[in-house]
């Protein structure tokens, strides 16, 4: 009996975990900030969230909105987000069971970053992350979108830091 309950609990808890195709990137501590960047996102609804995620990486001195003045570094971001839900009858069936029947949900995001200075492209980066999760009554899909784009923002920050395209701002 105990074994069954343990197995059931493990299955339920393991089922709650979401999976991502883009590996989690670790950003090293103690490094100098990179120069400030001006970030424009071709998605008015999620622009603020993406800028905040870049700020949270702690890699850039500051992340501003807008195009920036001459000499400033800017990043233009374009995203393509595809959400995949099960067929509508399955959603209805899950609703009929008060969401005890898990639903397979996925978010497929492809994001392109263009690092520029004075309108001249310095380097392009492209990332794709597919986040998948089984959602049910006690575990909704809230936070999936954020998890999906946070990985992309961290991957971009790490690659920019590694490539050295953006100068380091020496400590004052």
């Amino acid at each position: 009996m105990n074994r069954c309950m343990t197995l059931g609990a493990v299955a339920l808890l393991a089922g709650c975990a979401s999976t991502n195709t883009l590996p989690e990137r670790t950003l090293p501590d103690g490094k100098d900030y990179l120069k400030p960047i001006h970030v424009m996102v071709d998605d008015p609804e999620n622009a603020a969230q993406i800028r905040n995620q870049l700020r949270e990486t702690g890699v850039f001195r500051s992340v501003e909105s807008g195009m920036g003045k001459p000499g400033d570094y800017s990043v233009l971001i374009r995203s393509n987000v595809q959400r995949d839900m099960p067929p509508f009858p399955v959603v209805l069936l899950s609703a009929a069971t008060l969401f005890l029947l898990p639903l397979s949900v996925s978010i497929d995001t492809t994001t392109e970053f263009s690092l520029q200075q004075d309108g001249k492209s310095l380097k392009q980066y492209s990332y794709r992350n597919v986040t998948h999760k089984y959602s049910w009554l006690l575990d909704g899909i809230g936070g999936m979108q954020q998890e999906n784009t946070t990985r992309i923002a961290r991957a971009f920050a790490q690659d920019v830091q590694r490539d050295g395209v953006l100068p380091v701002e020496s400590a004052q």
Binding site: H38, D42, P44, E45, A47, A48, S65, G66, M67, K69
Partner: protein, 168 residues
């Protein structure tokens, strides 16, 4: 007979749509990258409406790159659709009690305020207003979304006419 019924059904249902119609304005050239800001949504309904506004603005082809929020550098457009008045309590309650089968007439007013900034400085403010009569039934097409589309189209035409935003 079946074909006529289907056609009538589609016409009736599409008449009930509350979604914004595509604007009667098509841009010949796109503006330089700029940002647009809308007031914080108060409900999921507001969020949906703002998504529709962004969608129809993009549909005009006037924006090469549309960022969100207000920017101190470059061009920013602030849109505000607050103000005006809708059905009010009495027509809404009567409409609900009659399951939207009895046409209860009411007047409405819709407003749109557009404010254009360059580097954080005000360039020009635009204001539009539309109003009229309509009724709370499911079989009379709603006129409010059409009014909102008309005002957005007029704003886009005025922006094009004033040439305050450079083209790409």
């Amino acid at each position: 007979m079946i074909r006529i019924s289907l056609l009538a059904g589609v016409l009736l249902l599409s008449g009930c749509s509350t979604a914004l119609k595509p604007l009667d304005y098509k841009a010949e050239r796109a503006y330089v990258p700029m940002s647009v800001s809308l007031p914080p949504p108060a409900s999921r309904f507001d969020e949906q409406k703002q998504r529709e506004v962004i969608q129809v603005l993009r549909g005009t082809g006037a924006f090469s790159f549309l960022d969100g929020g207000f920017s101190k550098t470059g061009y920013s457009l602030r849109l505000d659709q607050s103000g005006g008045k809708g059905a009010g309590v009495l027509p809404a309650v009567l409409g609900a009690l009659t399951l939207l089968t009895v046409p209860i007439p009411y007047t409405y007013e819709r407003q749109l305020h557009g404010t254009l900034y360059k580097d954080g400085e005000l360039l020009k403010a635009y204001a539009y207003k539309r109003g009229g009569w309509t009724a709370t039934t499911w079989y009379i097409p709603m006129t409010e979304p059409r009014s909102e589309s008309e005002m957005l189209g007029e704003l886009m035409r005025d922006l094009d006419h004033d040439r305050l935003i450079p083209y790409q």
